[in-house]
């Protein structure tokens, strides 16, 4: 069975019907009209649902297993990809994919979370929660990017940094702190895009650069609302309350000056319309990259000092 969002319930049978029709239809069939009207009806219902989403529903969309994760944006938007693997200390972390390549013809360095698309890959990648090796690899990438004038793009989609025994033994806290510091050593622009979940320290380590954008139906939070509910309400059943109280949506975060831009996402979400979402992201990244590449490294640092000093 495919994953379903409860609040999309009304539209799902219609979508199934539409897909069925599409499969069995020829272009001259009299059913074409029916197909068009069904399509319109679906869009109408989606518009209604998506116009009134609560923060906890954003969270569910951000976590949808069909939603493109960080690495998908690398695959779609970066050409001539050259992988950068390993932290030269312990190992490689497949939860974070790093490499060099070209964005719109411009040589860049990129990183993106990979939550994984089937269960085996998800387990291998620890569901996109990176270990110290991942953050040390990022530090390596940032250094490389600075020295060879490669603007950086990071695609963030993580619940947070790995929270397991091995990570603690190998110094997760130091890897994170050092990775955040690497953000302030950059001589090139760092543009970060939260494409799904922007969770806690695991996200901020890749997002303390010069521009932070968010897809409309992604979230950014100090702790996952479930964890927050468990801590403050002592009950995970209060996740929806926590999601509202924490202010996790792009609209709220834009108002607070935490993010620089919200990237429009088609109504119905990236899990339904991935190509349109990739295209929207490409356009915004292109604009933002152009703006940042015009700045000197001193100006870039000033930008960071102003931004992070104000909170």
């Amino acid at each position: 069975m495919t994953y379903q969002l409860g609040f999309e319930e009304v539209v799902l049978p219609l979508e199934a019907q539409l897909n069925n029709l599409k499969k069995n239809i020829s272009l001259d069939s009299p059913l074409v009209d029916e197909l068009t009207s069904l399509d319109k009806q679906i869009i109408r219902i989606l518009n209604k649902i998506y116009a009134n989403l609560e923060p906890w529903q954003y969270l569910l969309i951000a976590r949808h297993p069909d939603r493109p994760t960080g690495v998908d944006y690398i695959r779609k938007l970066i050409t001539d990809f050259v992988p950068i693997c390993g932290d030269r200390t312990f190992g490689d972390d497949s939860a974070l994919v790093c490499g060099l390549g070209k964005f719109d013809g411009i040589p860049v360095a990129v990183a993106g979370h990979n939550k994984g698309f089937d269960i085996d890959e998800r387990i291998k990648n620890n569901f996109g929660m990176a270990h110290p090796e991942g953050y040390r690899k990022i530090t390596r990438l940032f250094d490389l990017a600075s020295r060879f004038n490669l603007p950086l793009i990071t695609f963030i989609d993580t619940k947070g940094a790995a929270a397991n025994k091995g990570s603690e033994e190998r110094g997760q806290f130091y890897a994170l702190a050092d990775c955040i510091r690497a953000n302030f050593l950059l001589k090139v622009p760092l543009l970060s895009v939260i494409v799904g979940e922007g969770g806690s320290g695991g996200a901020i380590a890749l997002a303390s650069g010069h521009s932070l954008m968010m897809l409309k139906y992604s979230i950014f939070a100090v702790a996952s609302p479930d964890a927050c509910a468990a801590i403050l309400w002592k009950d995970r059943a209060f996740s929806a309350n926590a999601a509202s109280a924490l202010k996790i949506t792009s609209t709220d975060l834009l108002k607070m000056g935490v993010i620089d831009k919200e990237i429009e996402e088609p109504v119905g979400g990236a899990h339904r319309f991935p190509d349109q979402t990739f295209e929207n992201a490409r356009k915004e990244i292109k604009k933002e990259l152009k703006r940042l590449m015009a700045l000197s490294s001193d100006q870039l640092r000033m930008l960071q000092q102003e931004k992070f000093g104000k909170f």
Binding site: S167, E168, F173, Y174, A177, I180, G201, A221
Partner: protein, 293 residues
């Protein structure tokens, strides 16, 4: 409480009624040994029998780490409760209660101290204030302390005690991580020594930012130091962690702490460190002068 608590107003209130017989004795929270209260205070709240280091207030800490009367630093104040946060209690009320309980404005205070003639800025966290959690006030207090250390060209010492981010300030508390790391970077770029003293517990967003970036990192014995707390790891991994996991001794052997220092030795150790840095910096000045000539 003892002499070291009385140097700075406001006073910390003892949690037992004065003049009652119960006040004469203190039960060690770890080994339950009954210790004469006066003796407990003189031992800086460390159990003479089992060496348990009890958590102490930030005010007590500042007073035990200076030769002279510490000069309190006024720190930037912000509007309370930026998000209008309410869980089982209003965040505003939580702050009020914590202020009443601890007699400080938020989970950190700072002072200018002197150890054997060497001055330093001392930034101290208080676990009693909403778990020592870091929100806007704590992050700004750290930045202010770092800036002051740079302006006065004296070392910064940070004594940490924190469960992590101040959840009630949402994303603003997360933004304190890059902010405090930036402050560490300022210290580094200005060659100002930065010494960290980890106390029990230092976890979450605090250990994953400024608390792990010291030039020298000391720790009190048996302090819990880690990104994710042991209870969460045990729950998510369905395992039982070994005794001592993430404690100071574990972090020392894993390479994340330079030395474990008993509370009664901490002042002496910091004095030694400040002296080495002070002399080295004098020599550096001298060398620069010679190079110019």
């Amino acid at each position: 409480m003892g002499w070291f608590l009385n140097l700075v107003k406001p006073k910390i209130q003892s949690n037992t009624e004065s003049n009652s017989p119960a006040n004469l004795w203190h039960a060690c929270p770890s080994c339950s040994e009954m210790i004469f209260a006066k003796e407990w205070e003189l031992a800086l709240c460390v159990c003479p029998k089992c060496n348990f280091h009890e958590r102490i207030s930030a005010i007590a800490r500042i007073n035990m780490l200076s030769d002279v009367k510490p000069k309190m630093i006024s720190l930037p104040v912000f509007k309370d409760d930026p998000l209008g946060f309410k869980d089982t209690q209003n965040y505003k009320d939580r702050l009020k209660d914590a202020r009443k309980k601890t007699q400080i404005h938020d989970a950190a205070i700072a002072a200018e101290i002197s150890l054997d003639g060497n001055k330093a800025i001392l930034f101290v966290m208080d676990f009693n204030f909403i778990g020592g959690s870091m929100g806007q006030y704590v992050g700004s207090a750290f930045l202010q302390s770092a800036n002051l250390a740079i302006a006065k060209n004296i070392p910064l010492i940070a004594v940490t005690a924190s469960g992590g981010a101040r959840m009630q300030e949402g994303i603003i508390s997360l933004m304190q991580m890059p902010k405090t790391v930036l402050a560490c970077q300022f210290l580094r770029e200005n060659d100002v020594p930065y010494i960290v003293v980890l106390s029990d517990p230092t976890t979450g967003g605090v250990i994953a930012s400024f608390a792990s970036l010291g030039d020298i990192t000391l720790s009190e014995p048996n302090a819990l130091i880690g990104f994710t707390g042991p209870r969460v790891i045990e729950e998510t991994m369905q395992i039982k962690l070994e005794e001592g996991f993430q404690r100071s001794e574990f972090q020392l052997s894993h390479g994340f702490v330079d030395a474990i220092v008993h509370r009664s030795e901490m002042k002496k150790e910091l004095t030694k460190i400040l002296d080495i840095f002070a002399r080295a910096r004098e020599n550096k000045k001298e060398r620069r002068k010679n190079e110019r000539n």
